[in-house]
């Protein structure tokens, strides 16, 4: 492999954020004219790496070489000038403008301000033909499906002269047919001389389409392999690591009453594949059911559906035998559901309000805090102080505004609030994200105690320590389906990794067939 063949070379990249090392000593070599995949779990550092390559931030150390020339990108414009184009996971398109307008925006061919639309059309048609795509240039983007929108994003970068394309989780929202079309386009582009880097956690697809695969784990490169030389299981193990924490040996206290029962649940979303598809499971009294899976496989929508925040198109949800599929959120909360949200800022806190008001949110109707139609401020503050103490929230007082706390302490407050509501069912979405080690242990301890006292917990997490350590049983979610049910005591990294990345879907691959609860 001569240097001429190398389109992109990253050596020793180091990227730090406050309190966190995102990339450490990362190296990547991408040959021109190939499709190169970068795989890794959430938080492994792959997106950060690509953003560095695209000039969205600068690395603390390391070199970036594009087509043999060392580069120091100050902004995406520099990267674009060097021929790199990035298609983000969340498209940036103007719905009410036409495809043509979206593509040329910012780089419009013009004569003294007047748009030269015919020139644009000609160029785009050539590019479209070269990549095997077909789009109606005059259609408003709002009318396009997700797969077509992605094509528009690709045309956008091609229009600006990109020869190296970075695609971030391109198949996240595509249906299988659209995935095939996309891969067809990618092959055509590569045949035309382009280089493609794409990030994914879906190993089946990666193995099917890429020419070379680089695995990143915990911020650093693990290895680069050729797809022919590796099986999915080995790849999964490389991604996840070869050691899993072992669960504490303990007595199972799982009760017999079913607190939460979900059957055939399907959640729709406009314009794309159903985020949740035919999901069924039970959570019993005094049980922690863990849901493993790469983020973005429907876990968020599943929680929204259980809470009643988003409508379902099929299936039922039962809380302790009562059908709540169409009940209001208030009703479900009154029936004893608590929720530690995915995004505490967006879904859980009023940042400008004092802590005690935040601690009251969702619980203001409880008898303890009610003085007739008024709020018993004293009782609320007292309760907040108890939460602060029990969960170790570091704050000068309960009247400090929430934004003044660090993320970890905010998380502790939210966890404390939800547990203090004495729920029957707790939906916990990565409850210890952003929390320091000591507090993490404390929260785990609280969750275990609550479980032992009868709480039913649906735990969603990408942290395998957390999942293995807390769960009585683990379900794996992929592409909106439950693909496997595993016993934490016997689960291996290979198994977890396989199911989390698409194994078990088509029936082939794993020795353990998916045995989902009745």
């Amino acid at each position: 492999m001569t240097n001429d063949d190398i389109a992109v070379e990253l050596v020793g990249i180091e990227k730090r954020f406050p309190g966190v090392i995102a990339n450490h000593d990362v190296s990547l070599t991408v040959r021109r004219g190939t499709i190169h995949a970068i795989v890794g779990e959430n938080g492994a550092g792959k997106s950060t790496l690509m953003k560095t390559l695209y000039g969205m931030h600068q690395p603390e150390a390391g070199t970036i070489t594009v087509n043999g020339v060392e580069q120091h990108f100050k902004s995406p414009s520099d990267a674009i000038a060097a021929g790199i184009g990035m298609v983000h996971q969340h498209f940036m398109l103007a719905d009410n403008l036409t495809v043509l307008e979206n593509i040329i925006l910012g780089s419009e061919p013009n004569r003294r301000g007047v748009l030269k639309l015919d020139d644009a059309r000609r160029r785009i048609s050539e590019l479209a033909a070269a990549s095997g795509t077909h789009v109606d240039l005059d259609a408003p983007v709002s009318e396009l499906g997700v797969g077509q929108r992605q094509r528009v994003e690709i045309l956008k970068v091609l229009f600006r002269g990109a020869r190296i394309l970075i695609l971030d989780e391109p198949t996240a929202v595509l249906v299988p047919q659209e995935v095939d079309e996309l891969f067809g386009n990618l092959h055509r582009l590569v045949a035309d001389g382009a280089t493609i880097i794409f990030i994914s956690h879906k190993l089946d697809e990666v193995l099917a389409v890429s020419d070379e695969i680089t695995v990143i784990r915990q911020g650093t490169t693990v290895t680069s392999v050729l797809p022919d030389a590796v099986t999915r299981s080995t790849l999964a193990e490389l991604m996840v690591g070869s050691e899993l924490p072992s669960p504490e040996g303990r007595e199972s206290v799982v009760g017999s009453t079913v607190r939460l029962s979900v059957r055939g649940l399907t959640v729709p979303k406009a314009g794309q594949r159903n985020p949740v598809e035919d999901v069924s499971f039970d959570v019993h009294e005094a049980e922690v059911v863990g849901i493993a899976g790469v983020e973005g496989n429907g876990q968020y929508e599943l929680c929204e559906a259980i809470l009643g925040l988003t409508p379902v198109s099929a299936g039922t949800i039962e809380l302790a035998g009562e059908d709540v599929t169409h009940a209001s959120t208030r009703h479900r909360k009154a029936a004893g559901v608590s929720y530690i949200p995915f995004d505490r800022h967006r879904e859980g806190l009023m940042l400008d309000s004092p802590l005690w008001e935040n601690a009251l949110l969702g619980r203001e109707h409880e008898a303890e805090f009610a003085k007739g139609p008024m709020i018993d401020t004293r009782a609320a503050k007292k309760d907040c102080r108890e939460v602060i103490e029990r969960f170790g929230v570091l704050t000068p007082s309960e009247s400090v505004p929430a934004f003044a706390l660090s993320g970890g302490n905010q998380q502790k407050l939210v966890v404390g609030r939800e547990l203090s509501a004495q729920p029957h069912i707790l939906l916990a979405a990565h409850p210890t994200r952003g929390v320091d080690i000591g507090a993490q242990a404390a929260i785990w301890s609280e969750l275990r105690h609550a479980r032992d006292r009868g709480l039913a917990v649906l735990l969603i997490s990408a942290d395998l320590d957390e999942l293995i350590g807390l769960s009585d049983t683990i379900l794996v979610m992929y592409d909106g389906h439950i693909t496997a049910q595993l016993d934490p005591a016997t689960a291996t990294p290979e198994m977890l990794g396989t199911y989390m990345t698409g194994g078990g879907m088509t029936g082939g691959g794993g020795e353990h067939t998916a045995e989902v609860l009745p």
């Binding site: 307008e101 925006l105 748009l115």
Partner: protein, 439 residues
């Protein structure tokens, strides 16, 4: 699937349906042909109404002329709202900017002449647009609050300036300006409306046709003559701004970037568009339109500034913009519609009741269309409307002025409440935005 072949459909002979469908397809093909067809049909109905009720004012050139005079300020206000929202900023302060336009326009016309007046009015409105831009774009003030502040400010500030500039002048005072001596010239188009070529006064063909009161032809002549008789150059400019706006917004680089700032500023920014600069530009233009509309009021529609002259037109402009689906041609349509209703009121009181009969016919037509398309709810609604308006036509002698004032607002609410799927406001209009928040 049955094994036997389906029975032949005996209700239609094979040739006819193809031809009929061909005609319907041809008429329905592009928005232009659809509008043209609709226009012709409506004109036919209007003509029928005129013949039945004898209300010649429905299609007279006098009514059309008044319609234009009343519609232009509304049109300009609607365009002002449109340019602002297309760039992503709600402009509730159009009324205030129009007030600036009326005052500065009248002042300029009084002191220097009508054309200078129009220019000053335009600049005055643009200044208002600039203030709105600084508040909303630079300081991220809520768009509605800034608009409300602009209205309050303009109202008080122009009163203040009036007291300083107009008191003591002949005909002037705190609440009005002295009368202007000169006016924007008007003209008649030669041959169609008796315009002059050199010293020769050409024949007034449309006028002659109109006076014959022939069915349909007379109406077309009347309406057409309203557009070419005693037309002010300012009106021509106002009308020309519609295709100009359309062209700039859809065919120029500036226009595309402007629209993208209102649709998806994050996407635009990521592609190198300076959204801040574009928003300033759009709001300056918006203010200029509002100012021009105000100046038209105090220079063309009348010849002096009067406090309260704008009379809520800034808000009718918003209504027109919504009614016109944020398109310049739509705004023109809405303005003409509202202006027409206003103009009829001014001519003769019973013309409005004649309009009821026209609406009855239109509702009946809509009912037939809905039934043809098998949409029951709109069909029933149209039927009910037809019946109501027929009753109104028979029983009501004179519609109270106070109620007809509310027509544009009621129509807008109805449109908003029922047709919200077809409305396409710019996606990001009115939402707060800061540069650099994209990724």
């Amino acid at each position: 699937m049955t094994a036997t072949a389906p029975l032949p459909d005996l209700t239609e002979t094979p040739e006819q349906p193809a031809a009929r469908r061909g005609l319907l397809d041809a008429l329905n093909r592009t928005p232009a042909t659809r509008t043209l067809t609709a226009g012709v049909i409506l004109l036919l109905l209007l003509s029928i109404t005129r013949v039945i009720t004898g209300a010649d004012d429905l299609t007279s050139s006098g009514t059309m002329g008044t319609t234009l005079r009343l519609a232009i300020p509304i049109l300009l206000a609607g365009l002002a709202g449109l340019w602002a929202e297309r760039v992503g900023v709600l402009n509730i302060g159009i009324e205030g900017m129009m007030i600036l336009g009326t005052w500065f326009g009248a002042y300029g016309a009084w002191q220097y002449g009508p054309w200078v007046g129009l220019l000053l009015g335009l600049l005055g409105g643009a200044a208002g647009g600039l203030i709105h831009a600084v508040a909303t774009v630079r300081f991220n003030v809520d768009h509605v609050i800034s608009g409300v502040a602009m209205n309050l400010f303009a109202f008080g500030a122009m009163r203040y300036l009036s007291e300083l500039a107009f008191t003591g002048e002949q005909g002037g005072g705190i609440s009005q300006s002295p009368v202007q001596q000169a006016a924007i010239p008007r003209f008649n188009v030669p041959f169609l409306a008796g315009g002059q070529i050199g010293n020769w006064k050409s024949p007034d063909m449309l006028g002659w046709l109109e006076n014959k009161h022939w069915f349909f032809i007379g109406d077309v002549a009347g309406i057409a003559r309203g557009l070419v008789f005693n037309i002010s150059w300012a009106t021509v400019i106002g009308l020309a701004l519609v295709p100009l706006s359309t062209w700039i917004l859809w065919r120029s680089r500036f226009g595309l970037r402007l629209r993208s700032s209102g649709e998806a500023p994050d996407a635009a920014e990521s592609l190198g568009v300076n959204v801040t600069r574009v928003r300033y530009g759009g709001l300056l233009i918006s203010g200029a339109f509002a100012g021009l509309g105000g100046a038209y009021l105090s220079i063309v529609a009348s010849s002096y500034y009067r406090q309260g002259q704008t009379g809520g037109r800034g808000f009718i402009g918003l209504a027109t913009m919504i009614f016109g689906n944020w398109m310049p041609t739509g705004a023109l349509g809405g303005a003409l519609l509202f202006g027409y209703a206003d103009a009829l009121k001014l001519r003769r009181a019973d013309s409005i009741t004649a309009l009821f009969l026209f609406i009855t016919f239109v509702a009946g037509l809509l009912m037939i269309l809905s039934m043809y398309r098998r949409k029951t709810v709109p069909a029933i609604a149209a039927f009910v409307a037809a019946v109501l308006f027929l009753i109104a036509y028979e029983t009501v002698d004179e519609v109270p002025e106070s109620l007809t004032q509310a027509t544009p607002y009621v129509v807008t609410l109805i449109v908003l409440a029922t047709a919200s799927q077809r409305l396409r406001p710019p996606a990001h209009a009115g939402k707060p935005w800061r540069p650099g928040e994209g990724h």
